[in-house]
């Protein structure tokens, strides 16, 4: 059994899925930091999946519509997730309490927090060595990830079904010197797992029937534009 302390102990870093490594400075979620993922979506869940699969505990706050099955397909262990769908008006206190105990708090802020409040929660994350993942905007975040382009594949006009989504994720860091990084991902891939798209984009994924025939050129165009 893994405990809080032996998750990459000493490195101050929580692991992420291999596909996301090159997007984050240091190749993981650095403890005590704040990371944003744009509005709540699969990217928010995928950001925490690597760490939770590795034994970290995650609290999801303010997301009543969390798709747990998608999270599980992305690698999240549901036994290590606690949900607080509605944290109420005292949500900053709730988040601060959770940061002391959980390795990751995935928060969709119910209202726009003031700069003072943001600093308080950032300080709490630093003090307890936790990671605050924000589904939304957070001016002081160390890293910002965003889905820049996305295209669902496998579905046609009246046939097929949603099979996979090719997405370009762009990461920007704090400070002017940091150059934006971008990666093409299957977000999600055919079985729900998230993988880097470089190898898969050649068309091995979307197989069988008319869906492949119509969508493959489309995807090739998408991939080459990135």
């Amino acid at each position: 059994m893994r405990h809080r302390d032996d998750v990459l102990a000493g490195e101050g870093m929580l692991p992420v899925l291999p596909a996301l490594r090159e997007l984050l400075p240091g190749g993981g979620l650095s403890r005590g930091s704040v990371v944003t993922s744009g509005g709540f979506g699969l990217l928010s869940l995928v950001l925490v999946a690597g760490a939770v699969a590795d034994g970290a505990w995650c609290a999801v706050v303010g997301v009543p519509a969390v798709g747990m099955r998608a999270a599980v397909e992305a690698g999240v262990d549901p036994d290590r997730v606690v949900l607080i769908a509605d944290p109420g008006p005292r949500w900053p206190q709730v988040v601060a309490s959770l940061l002391d105990g959980f390795d990751i708090v995935l928060l969709c802020p119910p209202d726009q927090p003031s700069a003072q409040l943001r600093r308080k929660l950032e300080a709490a994350a630093r003090r307890y060595d936790s990671v605050l993942v924000i589904a939304g905007d957070w001016p002081g975040a160390q890293s910002r990830l965003l889905v820049a382009h996305a295209e669902w594949a496998g579905i046609g006009v009246g046939y097929g079904r949603l099979r996979a989504r090719l997405a370009q994720v762009v990461a920007t860091g704090r400070g002017a010197g940091e150059r934006p990084r971008a990666a093409w991902l299957w977000l999600p891939g055919a079985d729900g797992a998230v993988t880097a798209a470089a190898a898969a984009a050649s068309g091995s994924l979307v197989t069988g029937g008319r869906a492949a025939a119509t969508d493959a050129p489309d995807l090739a165009r998408l991939a080459s534009s990135g």
Binding site: M1, H3, R4, G41, L42, L43, L45, W57, A59, P64, A65, V66, G67, M68, R69, A70, A71, V72, E73, D77, P78, D79, R80, V81, V82, L83, I84, A85, D86, P87, G88, R90, Q93, V94, S97, L98, D100, G101, F102, V147, H149, A150, E151, W152, I155, G156, V157, G158, Y159, G160, R161, L162, R163, A164, R165, P188, G189, A190, D191, G192
Partner: protein, 461 residues
């Protein structure tokens, strides 16, 4: 060892309240049963037992007692099955027989039991073995000489034969009214600070544990009641399972005081709330103390730090608002996850590892709306798209508008996939046609058409 038939026992079973988390809803039912006979034993949530002899004499017969009890329970809005037989085991089976349960006349219990398969014994090591030896019913098992059963099957064999013959292995253990086991302290003048209250809580918890231990009970949960001089009263249930020390109970009292209405801990000068005037600890859901150490958490080992943080937030928001996701089976995305309050355990009624034909295959949507959002799906001339009796589509979907928002062009779509759920149960059955829609803003949706209305059940980001 006594060879007599078990005493007459009445078992009440509420099929709607069998889930673990229904224990709280079951309490009022137990209160109703207590009016018939104060010696109630709660066997598990949704099932309780009383000795039948006394009340039956009072109400003029067992059949009369059963119908009166069922009527009293149904007044509370729950369906109840009542079974009466010799011994707890047979009475439990009688309660499950037929929609309203069954009264087995005195002395007829062995005949009643004879037809049941051995599986009902609930002794796993025997119920697999006995049918292979040609013993398939309790009647056949009852014919075995007890001595042979012991030598062949061990102690569980003896138990099985006794049960099959309608001899009960143990008497009823009625629960005393919980009030007798509670511990309370008044504060005069009202305690403005939390510290003296928490200090008193430790002593009260010791008292409560002593009283429980003296009666041979454990409690599943402990209710902490705090009265304030401003008139407010805050009452919370905390998971106990016999695992909390007095200090741990006191810590929960502290959390509860921290999360009290209107503010921070330990100030007490809040004019509206006032100081604490009374603290009471009441054991909830008494069970026989079996020395069992329950795992608080299934398989994953919850670290103290995680549990403390989660319970702390429960103190602020309420027990039910901090949940753990449990995967369940189902066709709709919202059915596939149950949210179980932190600290409670629940086995999903619909296991996830069964095939659910009609389930949308992976990948699953990342956003699943707890309440489906209304939507409108129209074709190229602005007519709402509809589905005919044989899953024929009126026209191709062209525009999607979610909750009155701006209409988005649909770039690709798939469906309809008809789903008829629970056709065997008319009030709960439903016929739906499901679609996946891709819109030109890069998003994709799981849309459902039911009785002419479009809703969005989930979004693929």
């Amino acid at each position: 060892m006594t060879r007599q038939a078990g005493a007459r026992v009445l078992v009440l079973r509420c099929p709607d309240l069998l889930a673990e988390d229904a224990a709280r809803a079951f309490e009022p039912v137990v209160a109703v049963v207590e009016e018939f006979c104060p010696h109630v034993e709660v066997l598990r949530p949704g099932v309780c037992a009383i000795p039948a002899r006394g009340p039956a004499r009072y109400f003029g017969g067992e059949v009369e007692l059963a119908s009166r009890l069922a009527a009293a329970v149904s007044l509370g809005g729950f369906g109840g099955q009542v079974g009466i037989a010799d011994g707890l085991f047979a009475a439990g089976l009688a309660a499950r027989t037929g929609p309203a349960g069954l009264v087995v006349p005195p002395g007829k219990t062995p005949e009643f039991l004879a037809g049941f398969p051995v599986g009902v014994l609930g002794i796993p090591e025997l119920t697999a073995l006995l049918p292979r030896l040609g013993i398939e019913t309790l009647g056949q098992l009852a014919e075995l000489p007890p001595a042979d059963a012991v030598s062949r099957f061990g102690p569980s064999g003896e138990l099985a034969v006794r049960l099959a013959r309608g001899l009960d292995p143990r008497p009823l253990i009625p629960r005393p009214p919980p009030a007798d086991l509670s511990a309370a302290m008044e504060f005069d003048p009202p305690a403005g600070q939390s510290e003296p209250v928490i200090f008193a809580a430790k002593a009260l918890a010791d008292q409560m544990h002593d009283r429980l231990a003296a009666g041979g009970y454990g409690c599943v949960r402990v209710r902490v009641e705090v009265h304030y001089s401003g008139g407010a009263q805050v009452s919370r249930l905390w998971r106990h399972d016999g695992l909390l020390s007095a200090l741990a109970v006191a810590e929960r009292v502290r959390w509860q005081l921290d999360g009290r209405p209107g503010g921070q801990a330990a100030t007490g000068d809040d004019a509206e709330v006032g100081g604490v005037t009374l603290l009471r600890l009441i054991p909830d859901q008494l069970v026989r103390a079996t020395g069992r150490q329950l795992a608080l958490w299934g398989d994953a080992v919850v670290t103290d730090r995680v549990a403390r943080a989660a319970i702390r937030v429960q103190a602020m928001l309420g027990h039910d608002r901090v949940t753990r996701p449990v995967l369940a089976g189902g066709r709709r995305p919202a059915e596939q996850v149950l949210f179980v309050p932190f600290g409670d355990s629940e086995v999903p009624q619909r296991p996830a590892d069964r095939p659910w034909p009609g389930q949308i295959p992976a990948p699953a949507p990342a956003v699943v709306y707890p309440v489906p959002r209304s939507a409108s799906v129209t074709d190229s001339v602005g007519e709402v798209v509809s589905v005919g009796g044989r899953a024929g589509l009126s026209a191709a979907p062209a525009l999607l508008a979610v909750e009155g928002g701006p209409a988005c062009p649909v770039t690709a779509w798939a469906g309809p996939w008809p789903v008829t759920q629970r056709w065997w149960d008319p009030p709960r059955s439903c016929r739906q046609a499901r679609f996946q829609l891709r819109t030109d803003d890069g998003r994709a949706w799981l849309a459902v058409l039911q009785e002419g209305h479009w809703v969005i059940e989930a979004s693929y980001d």
